[in-house]
Symmetry: C2
Subunit: 348 residues, 2 copies
Amino acid sequence: MFEDFLTNKQNWLNGKGPYSEIVFSSRIRLARNIAQYPFPSRATLHQKEAILKELGEAYAKVRGLKKSVFVRMEDVEELDRQFLLERHLISQEHTQSPKGKGLIVSSDESTALMINEEDHLRMQVITSGFDLNSSWQALSAIDNELSKLMSFAFLPEIGYLTVCPTNVGTSLRVSCMLHLPALVLTRRINKILEFLTRISFTTRGLFGEGTQALGDFFQISNQVSLGHSESELLADLTSVVNQVREQEIDARSVLLKKHKLNLEDNVWRALGILQNSRLIGSKEALSHLSMLSLGLDLGIITHVLRETINGLFVLIQPAHLQKQEGRTLKEGERDYIRAEILRKNLTA
Amino acid sequence: MFEDFLTNKQNWLNGKGPYSEIVFSSRIRLARNIAQYPFPSRATLHQKEAILKELGEAYAKVRGLKKSVFVRMEDVEELDRQFLLERHLISQEHTQSPKGKGLIVSSDESTALMINEEDHLRMQVITSGFDLNSSWQALSAIDNELSKLMSFAFLPEIGYLTVCPTNVGTSLRVSCMLHLPALVLTRRINKILEFLTRISFTTRGLFGEGTQALGDFFQISNQVSLGHSESELLADLTSVVNQVREQEIDARSVLLKKHKLNLEDNVWRALGILQNSRLIGSKEALSHLSMLSLGLDLGIITHVLRETINGLFVLIQPAHLQKQEGRTLKEGERDYIRAEILRKNLTA
């Protein structure tokens, strides 16, 4: 299932969006609940099935979801659920207890709607680079069309009703995945993360909570949405991301000015290890890919494609390894297959 | 001076001698003093000059020294003295206070005679691989011819007289340089070194005392010569080296059986780093070259030449870097040039 995603070159991983040398991807998420049903945690399986049925019929009428598929999560194998998680198309929660849960996902992976996760509907649009507005336009259009097909729980004085209070209101979560290797190398990152928390932004890692600093990726998003309009939330995140982006640019120029040889050494060694290792863990591989990515941004290496590096950040994850191999891999085998995939992709 | 040595492919570094996958080189050394002069430490400069003159004339008549040159150490620049030290042709002591000192060295570097080091004459023959007998034959022949041209200090009941009591008697020092990476990786090496000390053998590193374990090289030699005949000393060292060699062979087969993938990973990563780094210290480079050498012995890598790897053990040393660059290098520059030379030699 979803085999096409493995070779998809047009998704948010291709590094072709604006400012993608630092902003890996932009993501907009909305949460919705259908008025006549209880929240998923309180709904019966029967009610969840009704919701699945309703959305399974509605999505086909929505223009922005034309090239999408609808699946029941119980029809998706465990490995494929992990695969979708690694591709940022579903949440950790959505990989578990699949009964009554569903997913609508577009063939280009830009749009994904989780059904009966925490809320009845969690809709996301994700794009390459720093492009919150076009993501917002796309998601907003889908939301508008769906609103005409069903009745979402909404109170004029509060906004959309959601399970978690942090989502009440617009229910909008805006986030950008930033690649900040120079801020990590110059050890400026911690001050920046502290500052972001103080001004009410959340930072997470490449694969959500608890994975911070893996591959020098940091996802920045708004903490609450209640009391802020959509445009405010978008403008605030844009402003913060721009500030962090400028800090990273500054750190990169400091590295180039003061530590050029060390930087070149780090980048080339990373390439040498990735092209030669026979056993490599995910954490180590991510850290070398991060250096490679920085090296490409700074023109230190030129013969590796951006989309190759970006793709590898995800291709070396456990479920992706197994999808590529077409079989289940024991934990000991993964480091071997990971090394093989890295060599294959990075050796001319 | 000695520029030819840099490109010499026929010396003890070429790895073409017997058992050279473990025994890097074999070396025989004799110490002699000319009867009518005091030991160098007590000789006047005038007397040392007379010794230099005598040997400078004598060597030309010795068959085994036909293709040799005679130099006064004061005519050899500081950098070239370091260069000779790195090539194991002179001792640390012989690089200092060059006045009154001399060197006779053959063009293939197999034979080197230090004049007025600790003794009037320190003669060595060094060959690739495990080949003590042919070294002994060659050196013995030179010694016999010189004995006919001058009178060496000798007492029938004691043997040859030398400055240091450990050399009195035959004055023979027999040594082999062993490459023991598997004994290091399996952590068996320390027991073996302890055992060797207990049975009166000395172990040193690649560049003499205090450099132990650099590149996993261990030089094993006899501690005393008094009271033992030449053939006893040769037989004892041969026996000990064979035992250690067998231990290393056993450790290699254990690694191949139980840790093959890890071993391959180590070897390939070493190659990747050496082919890509832009800054590398001597210690790190030696350790990767050691893994590469092991990888070549075990057939893990096949596309790098033995003589290339062996040559690099010496080519990356400070004086060699400067000879190759044709200029003095500051300490910071060396790591850069070393990385460049490694890349040049190891990239197809």
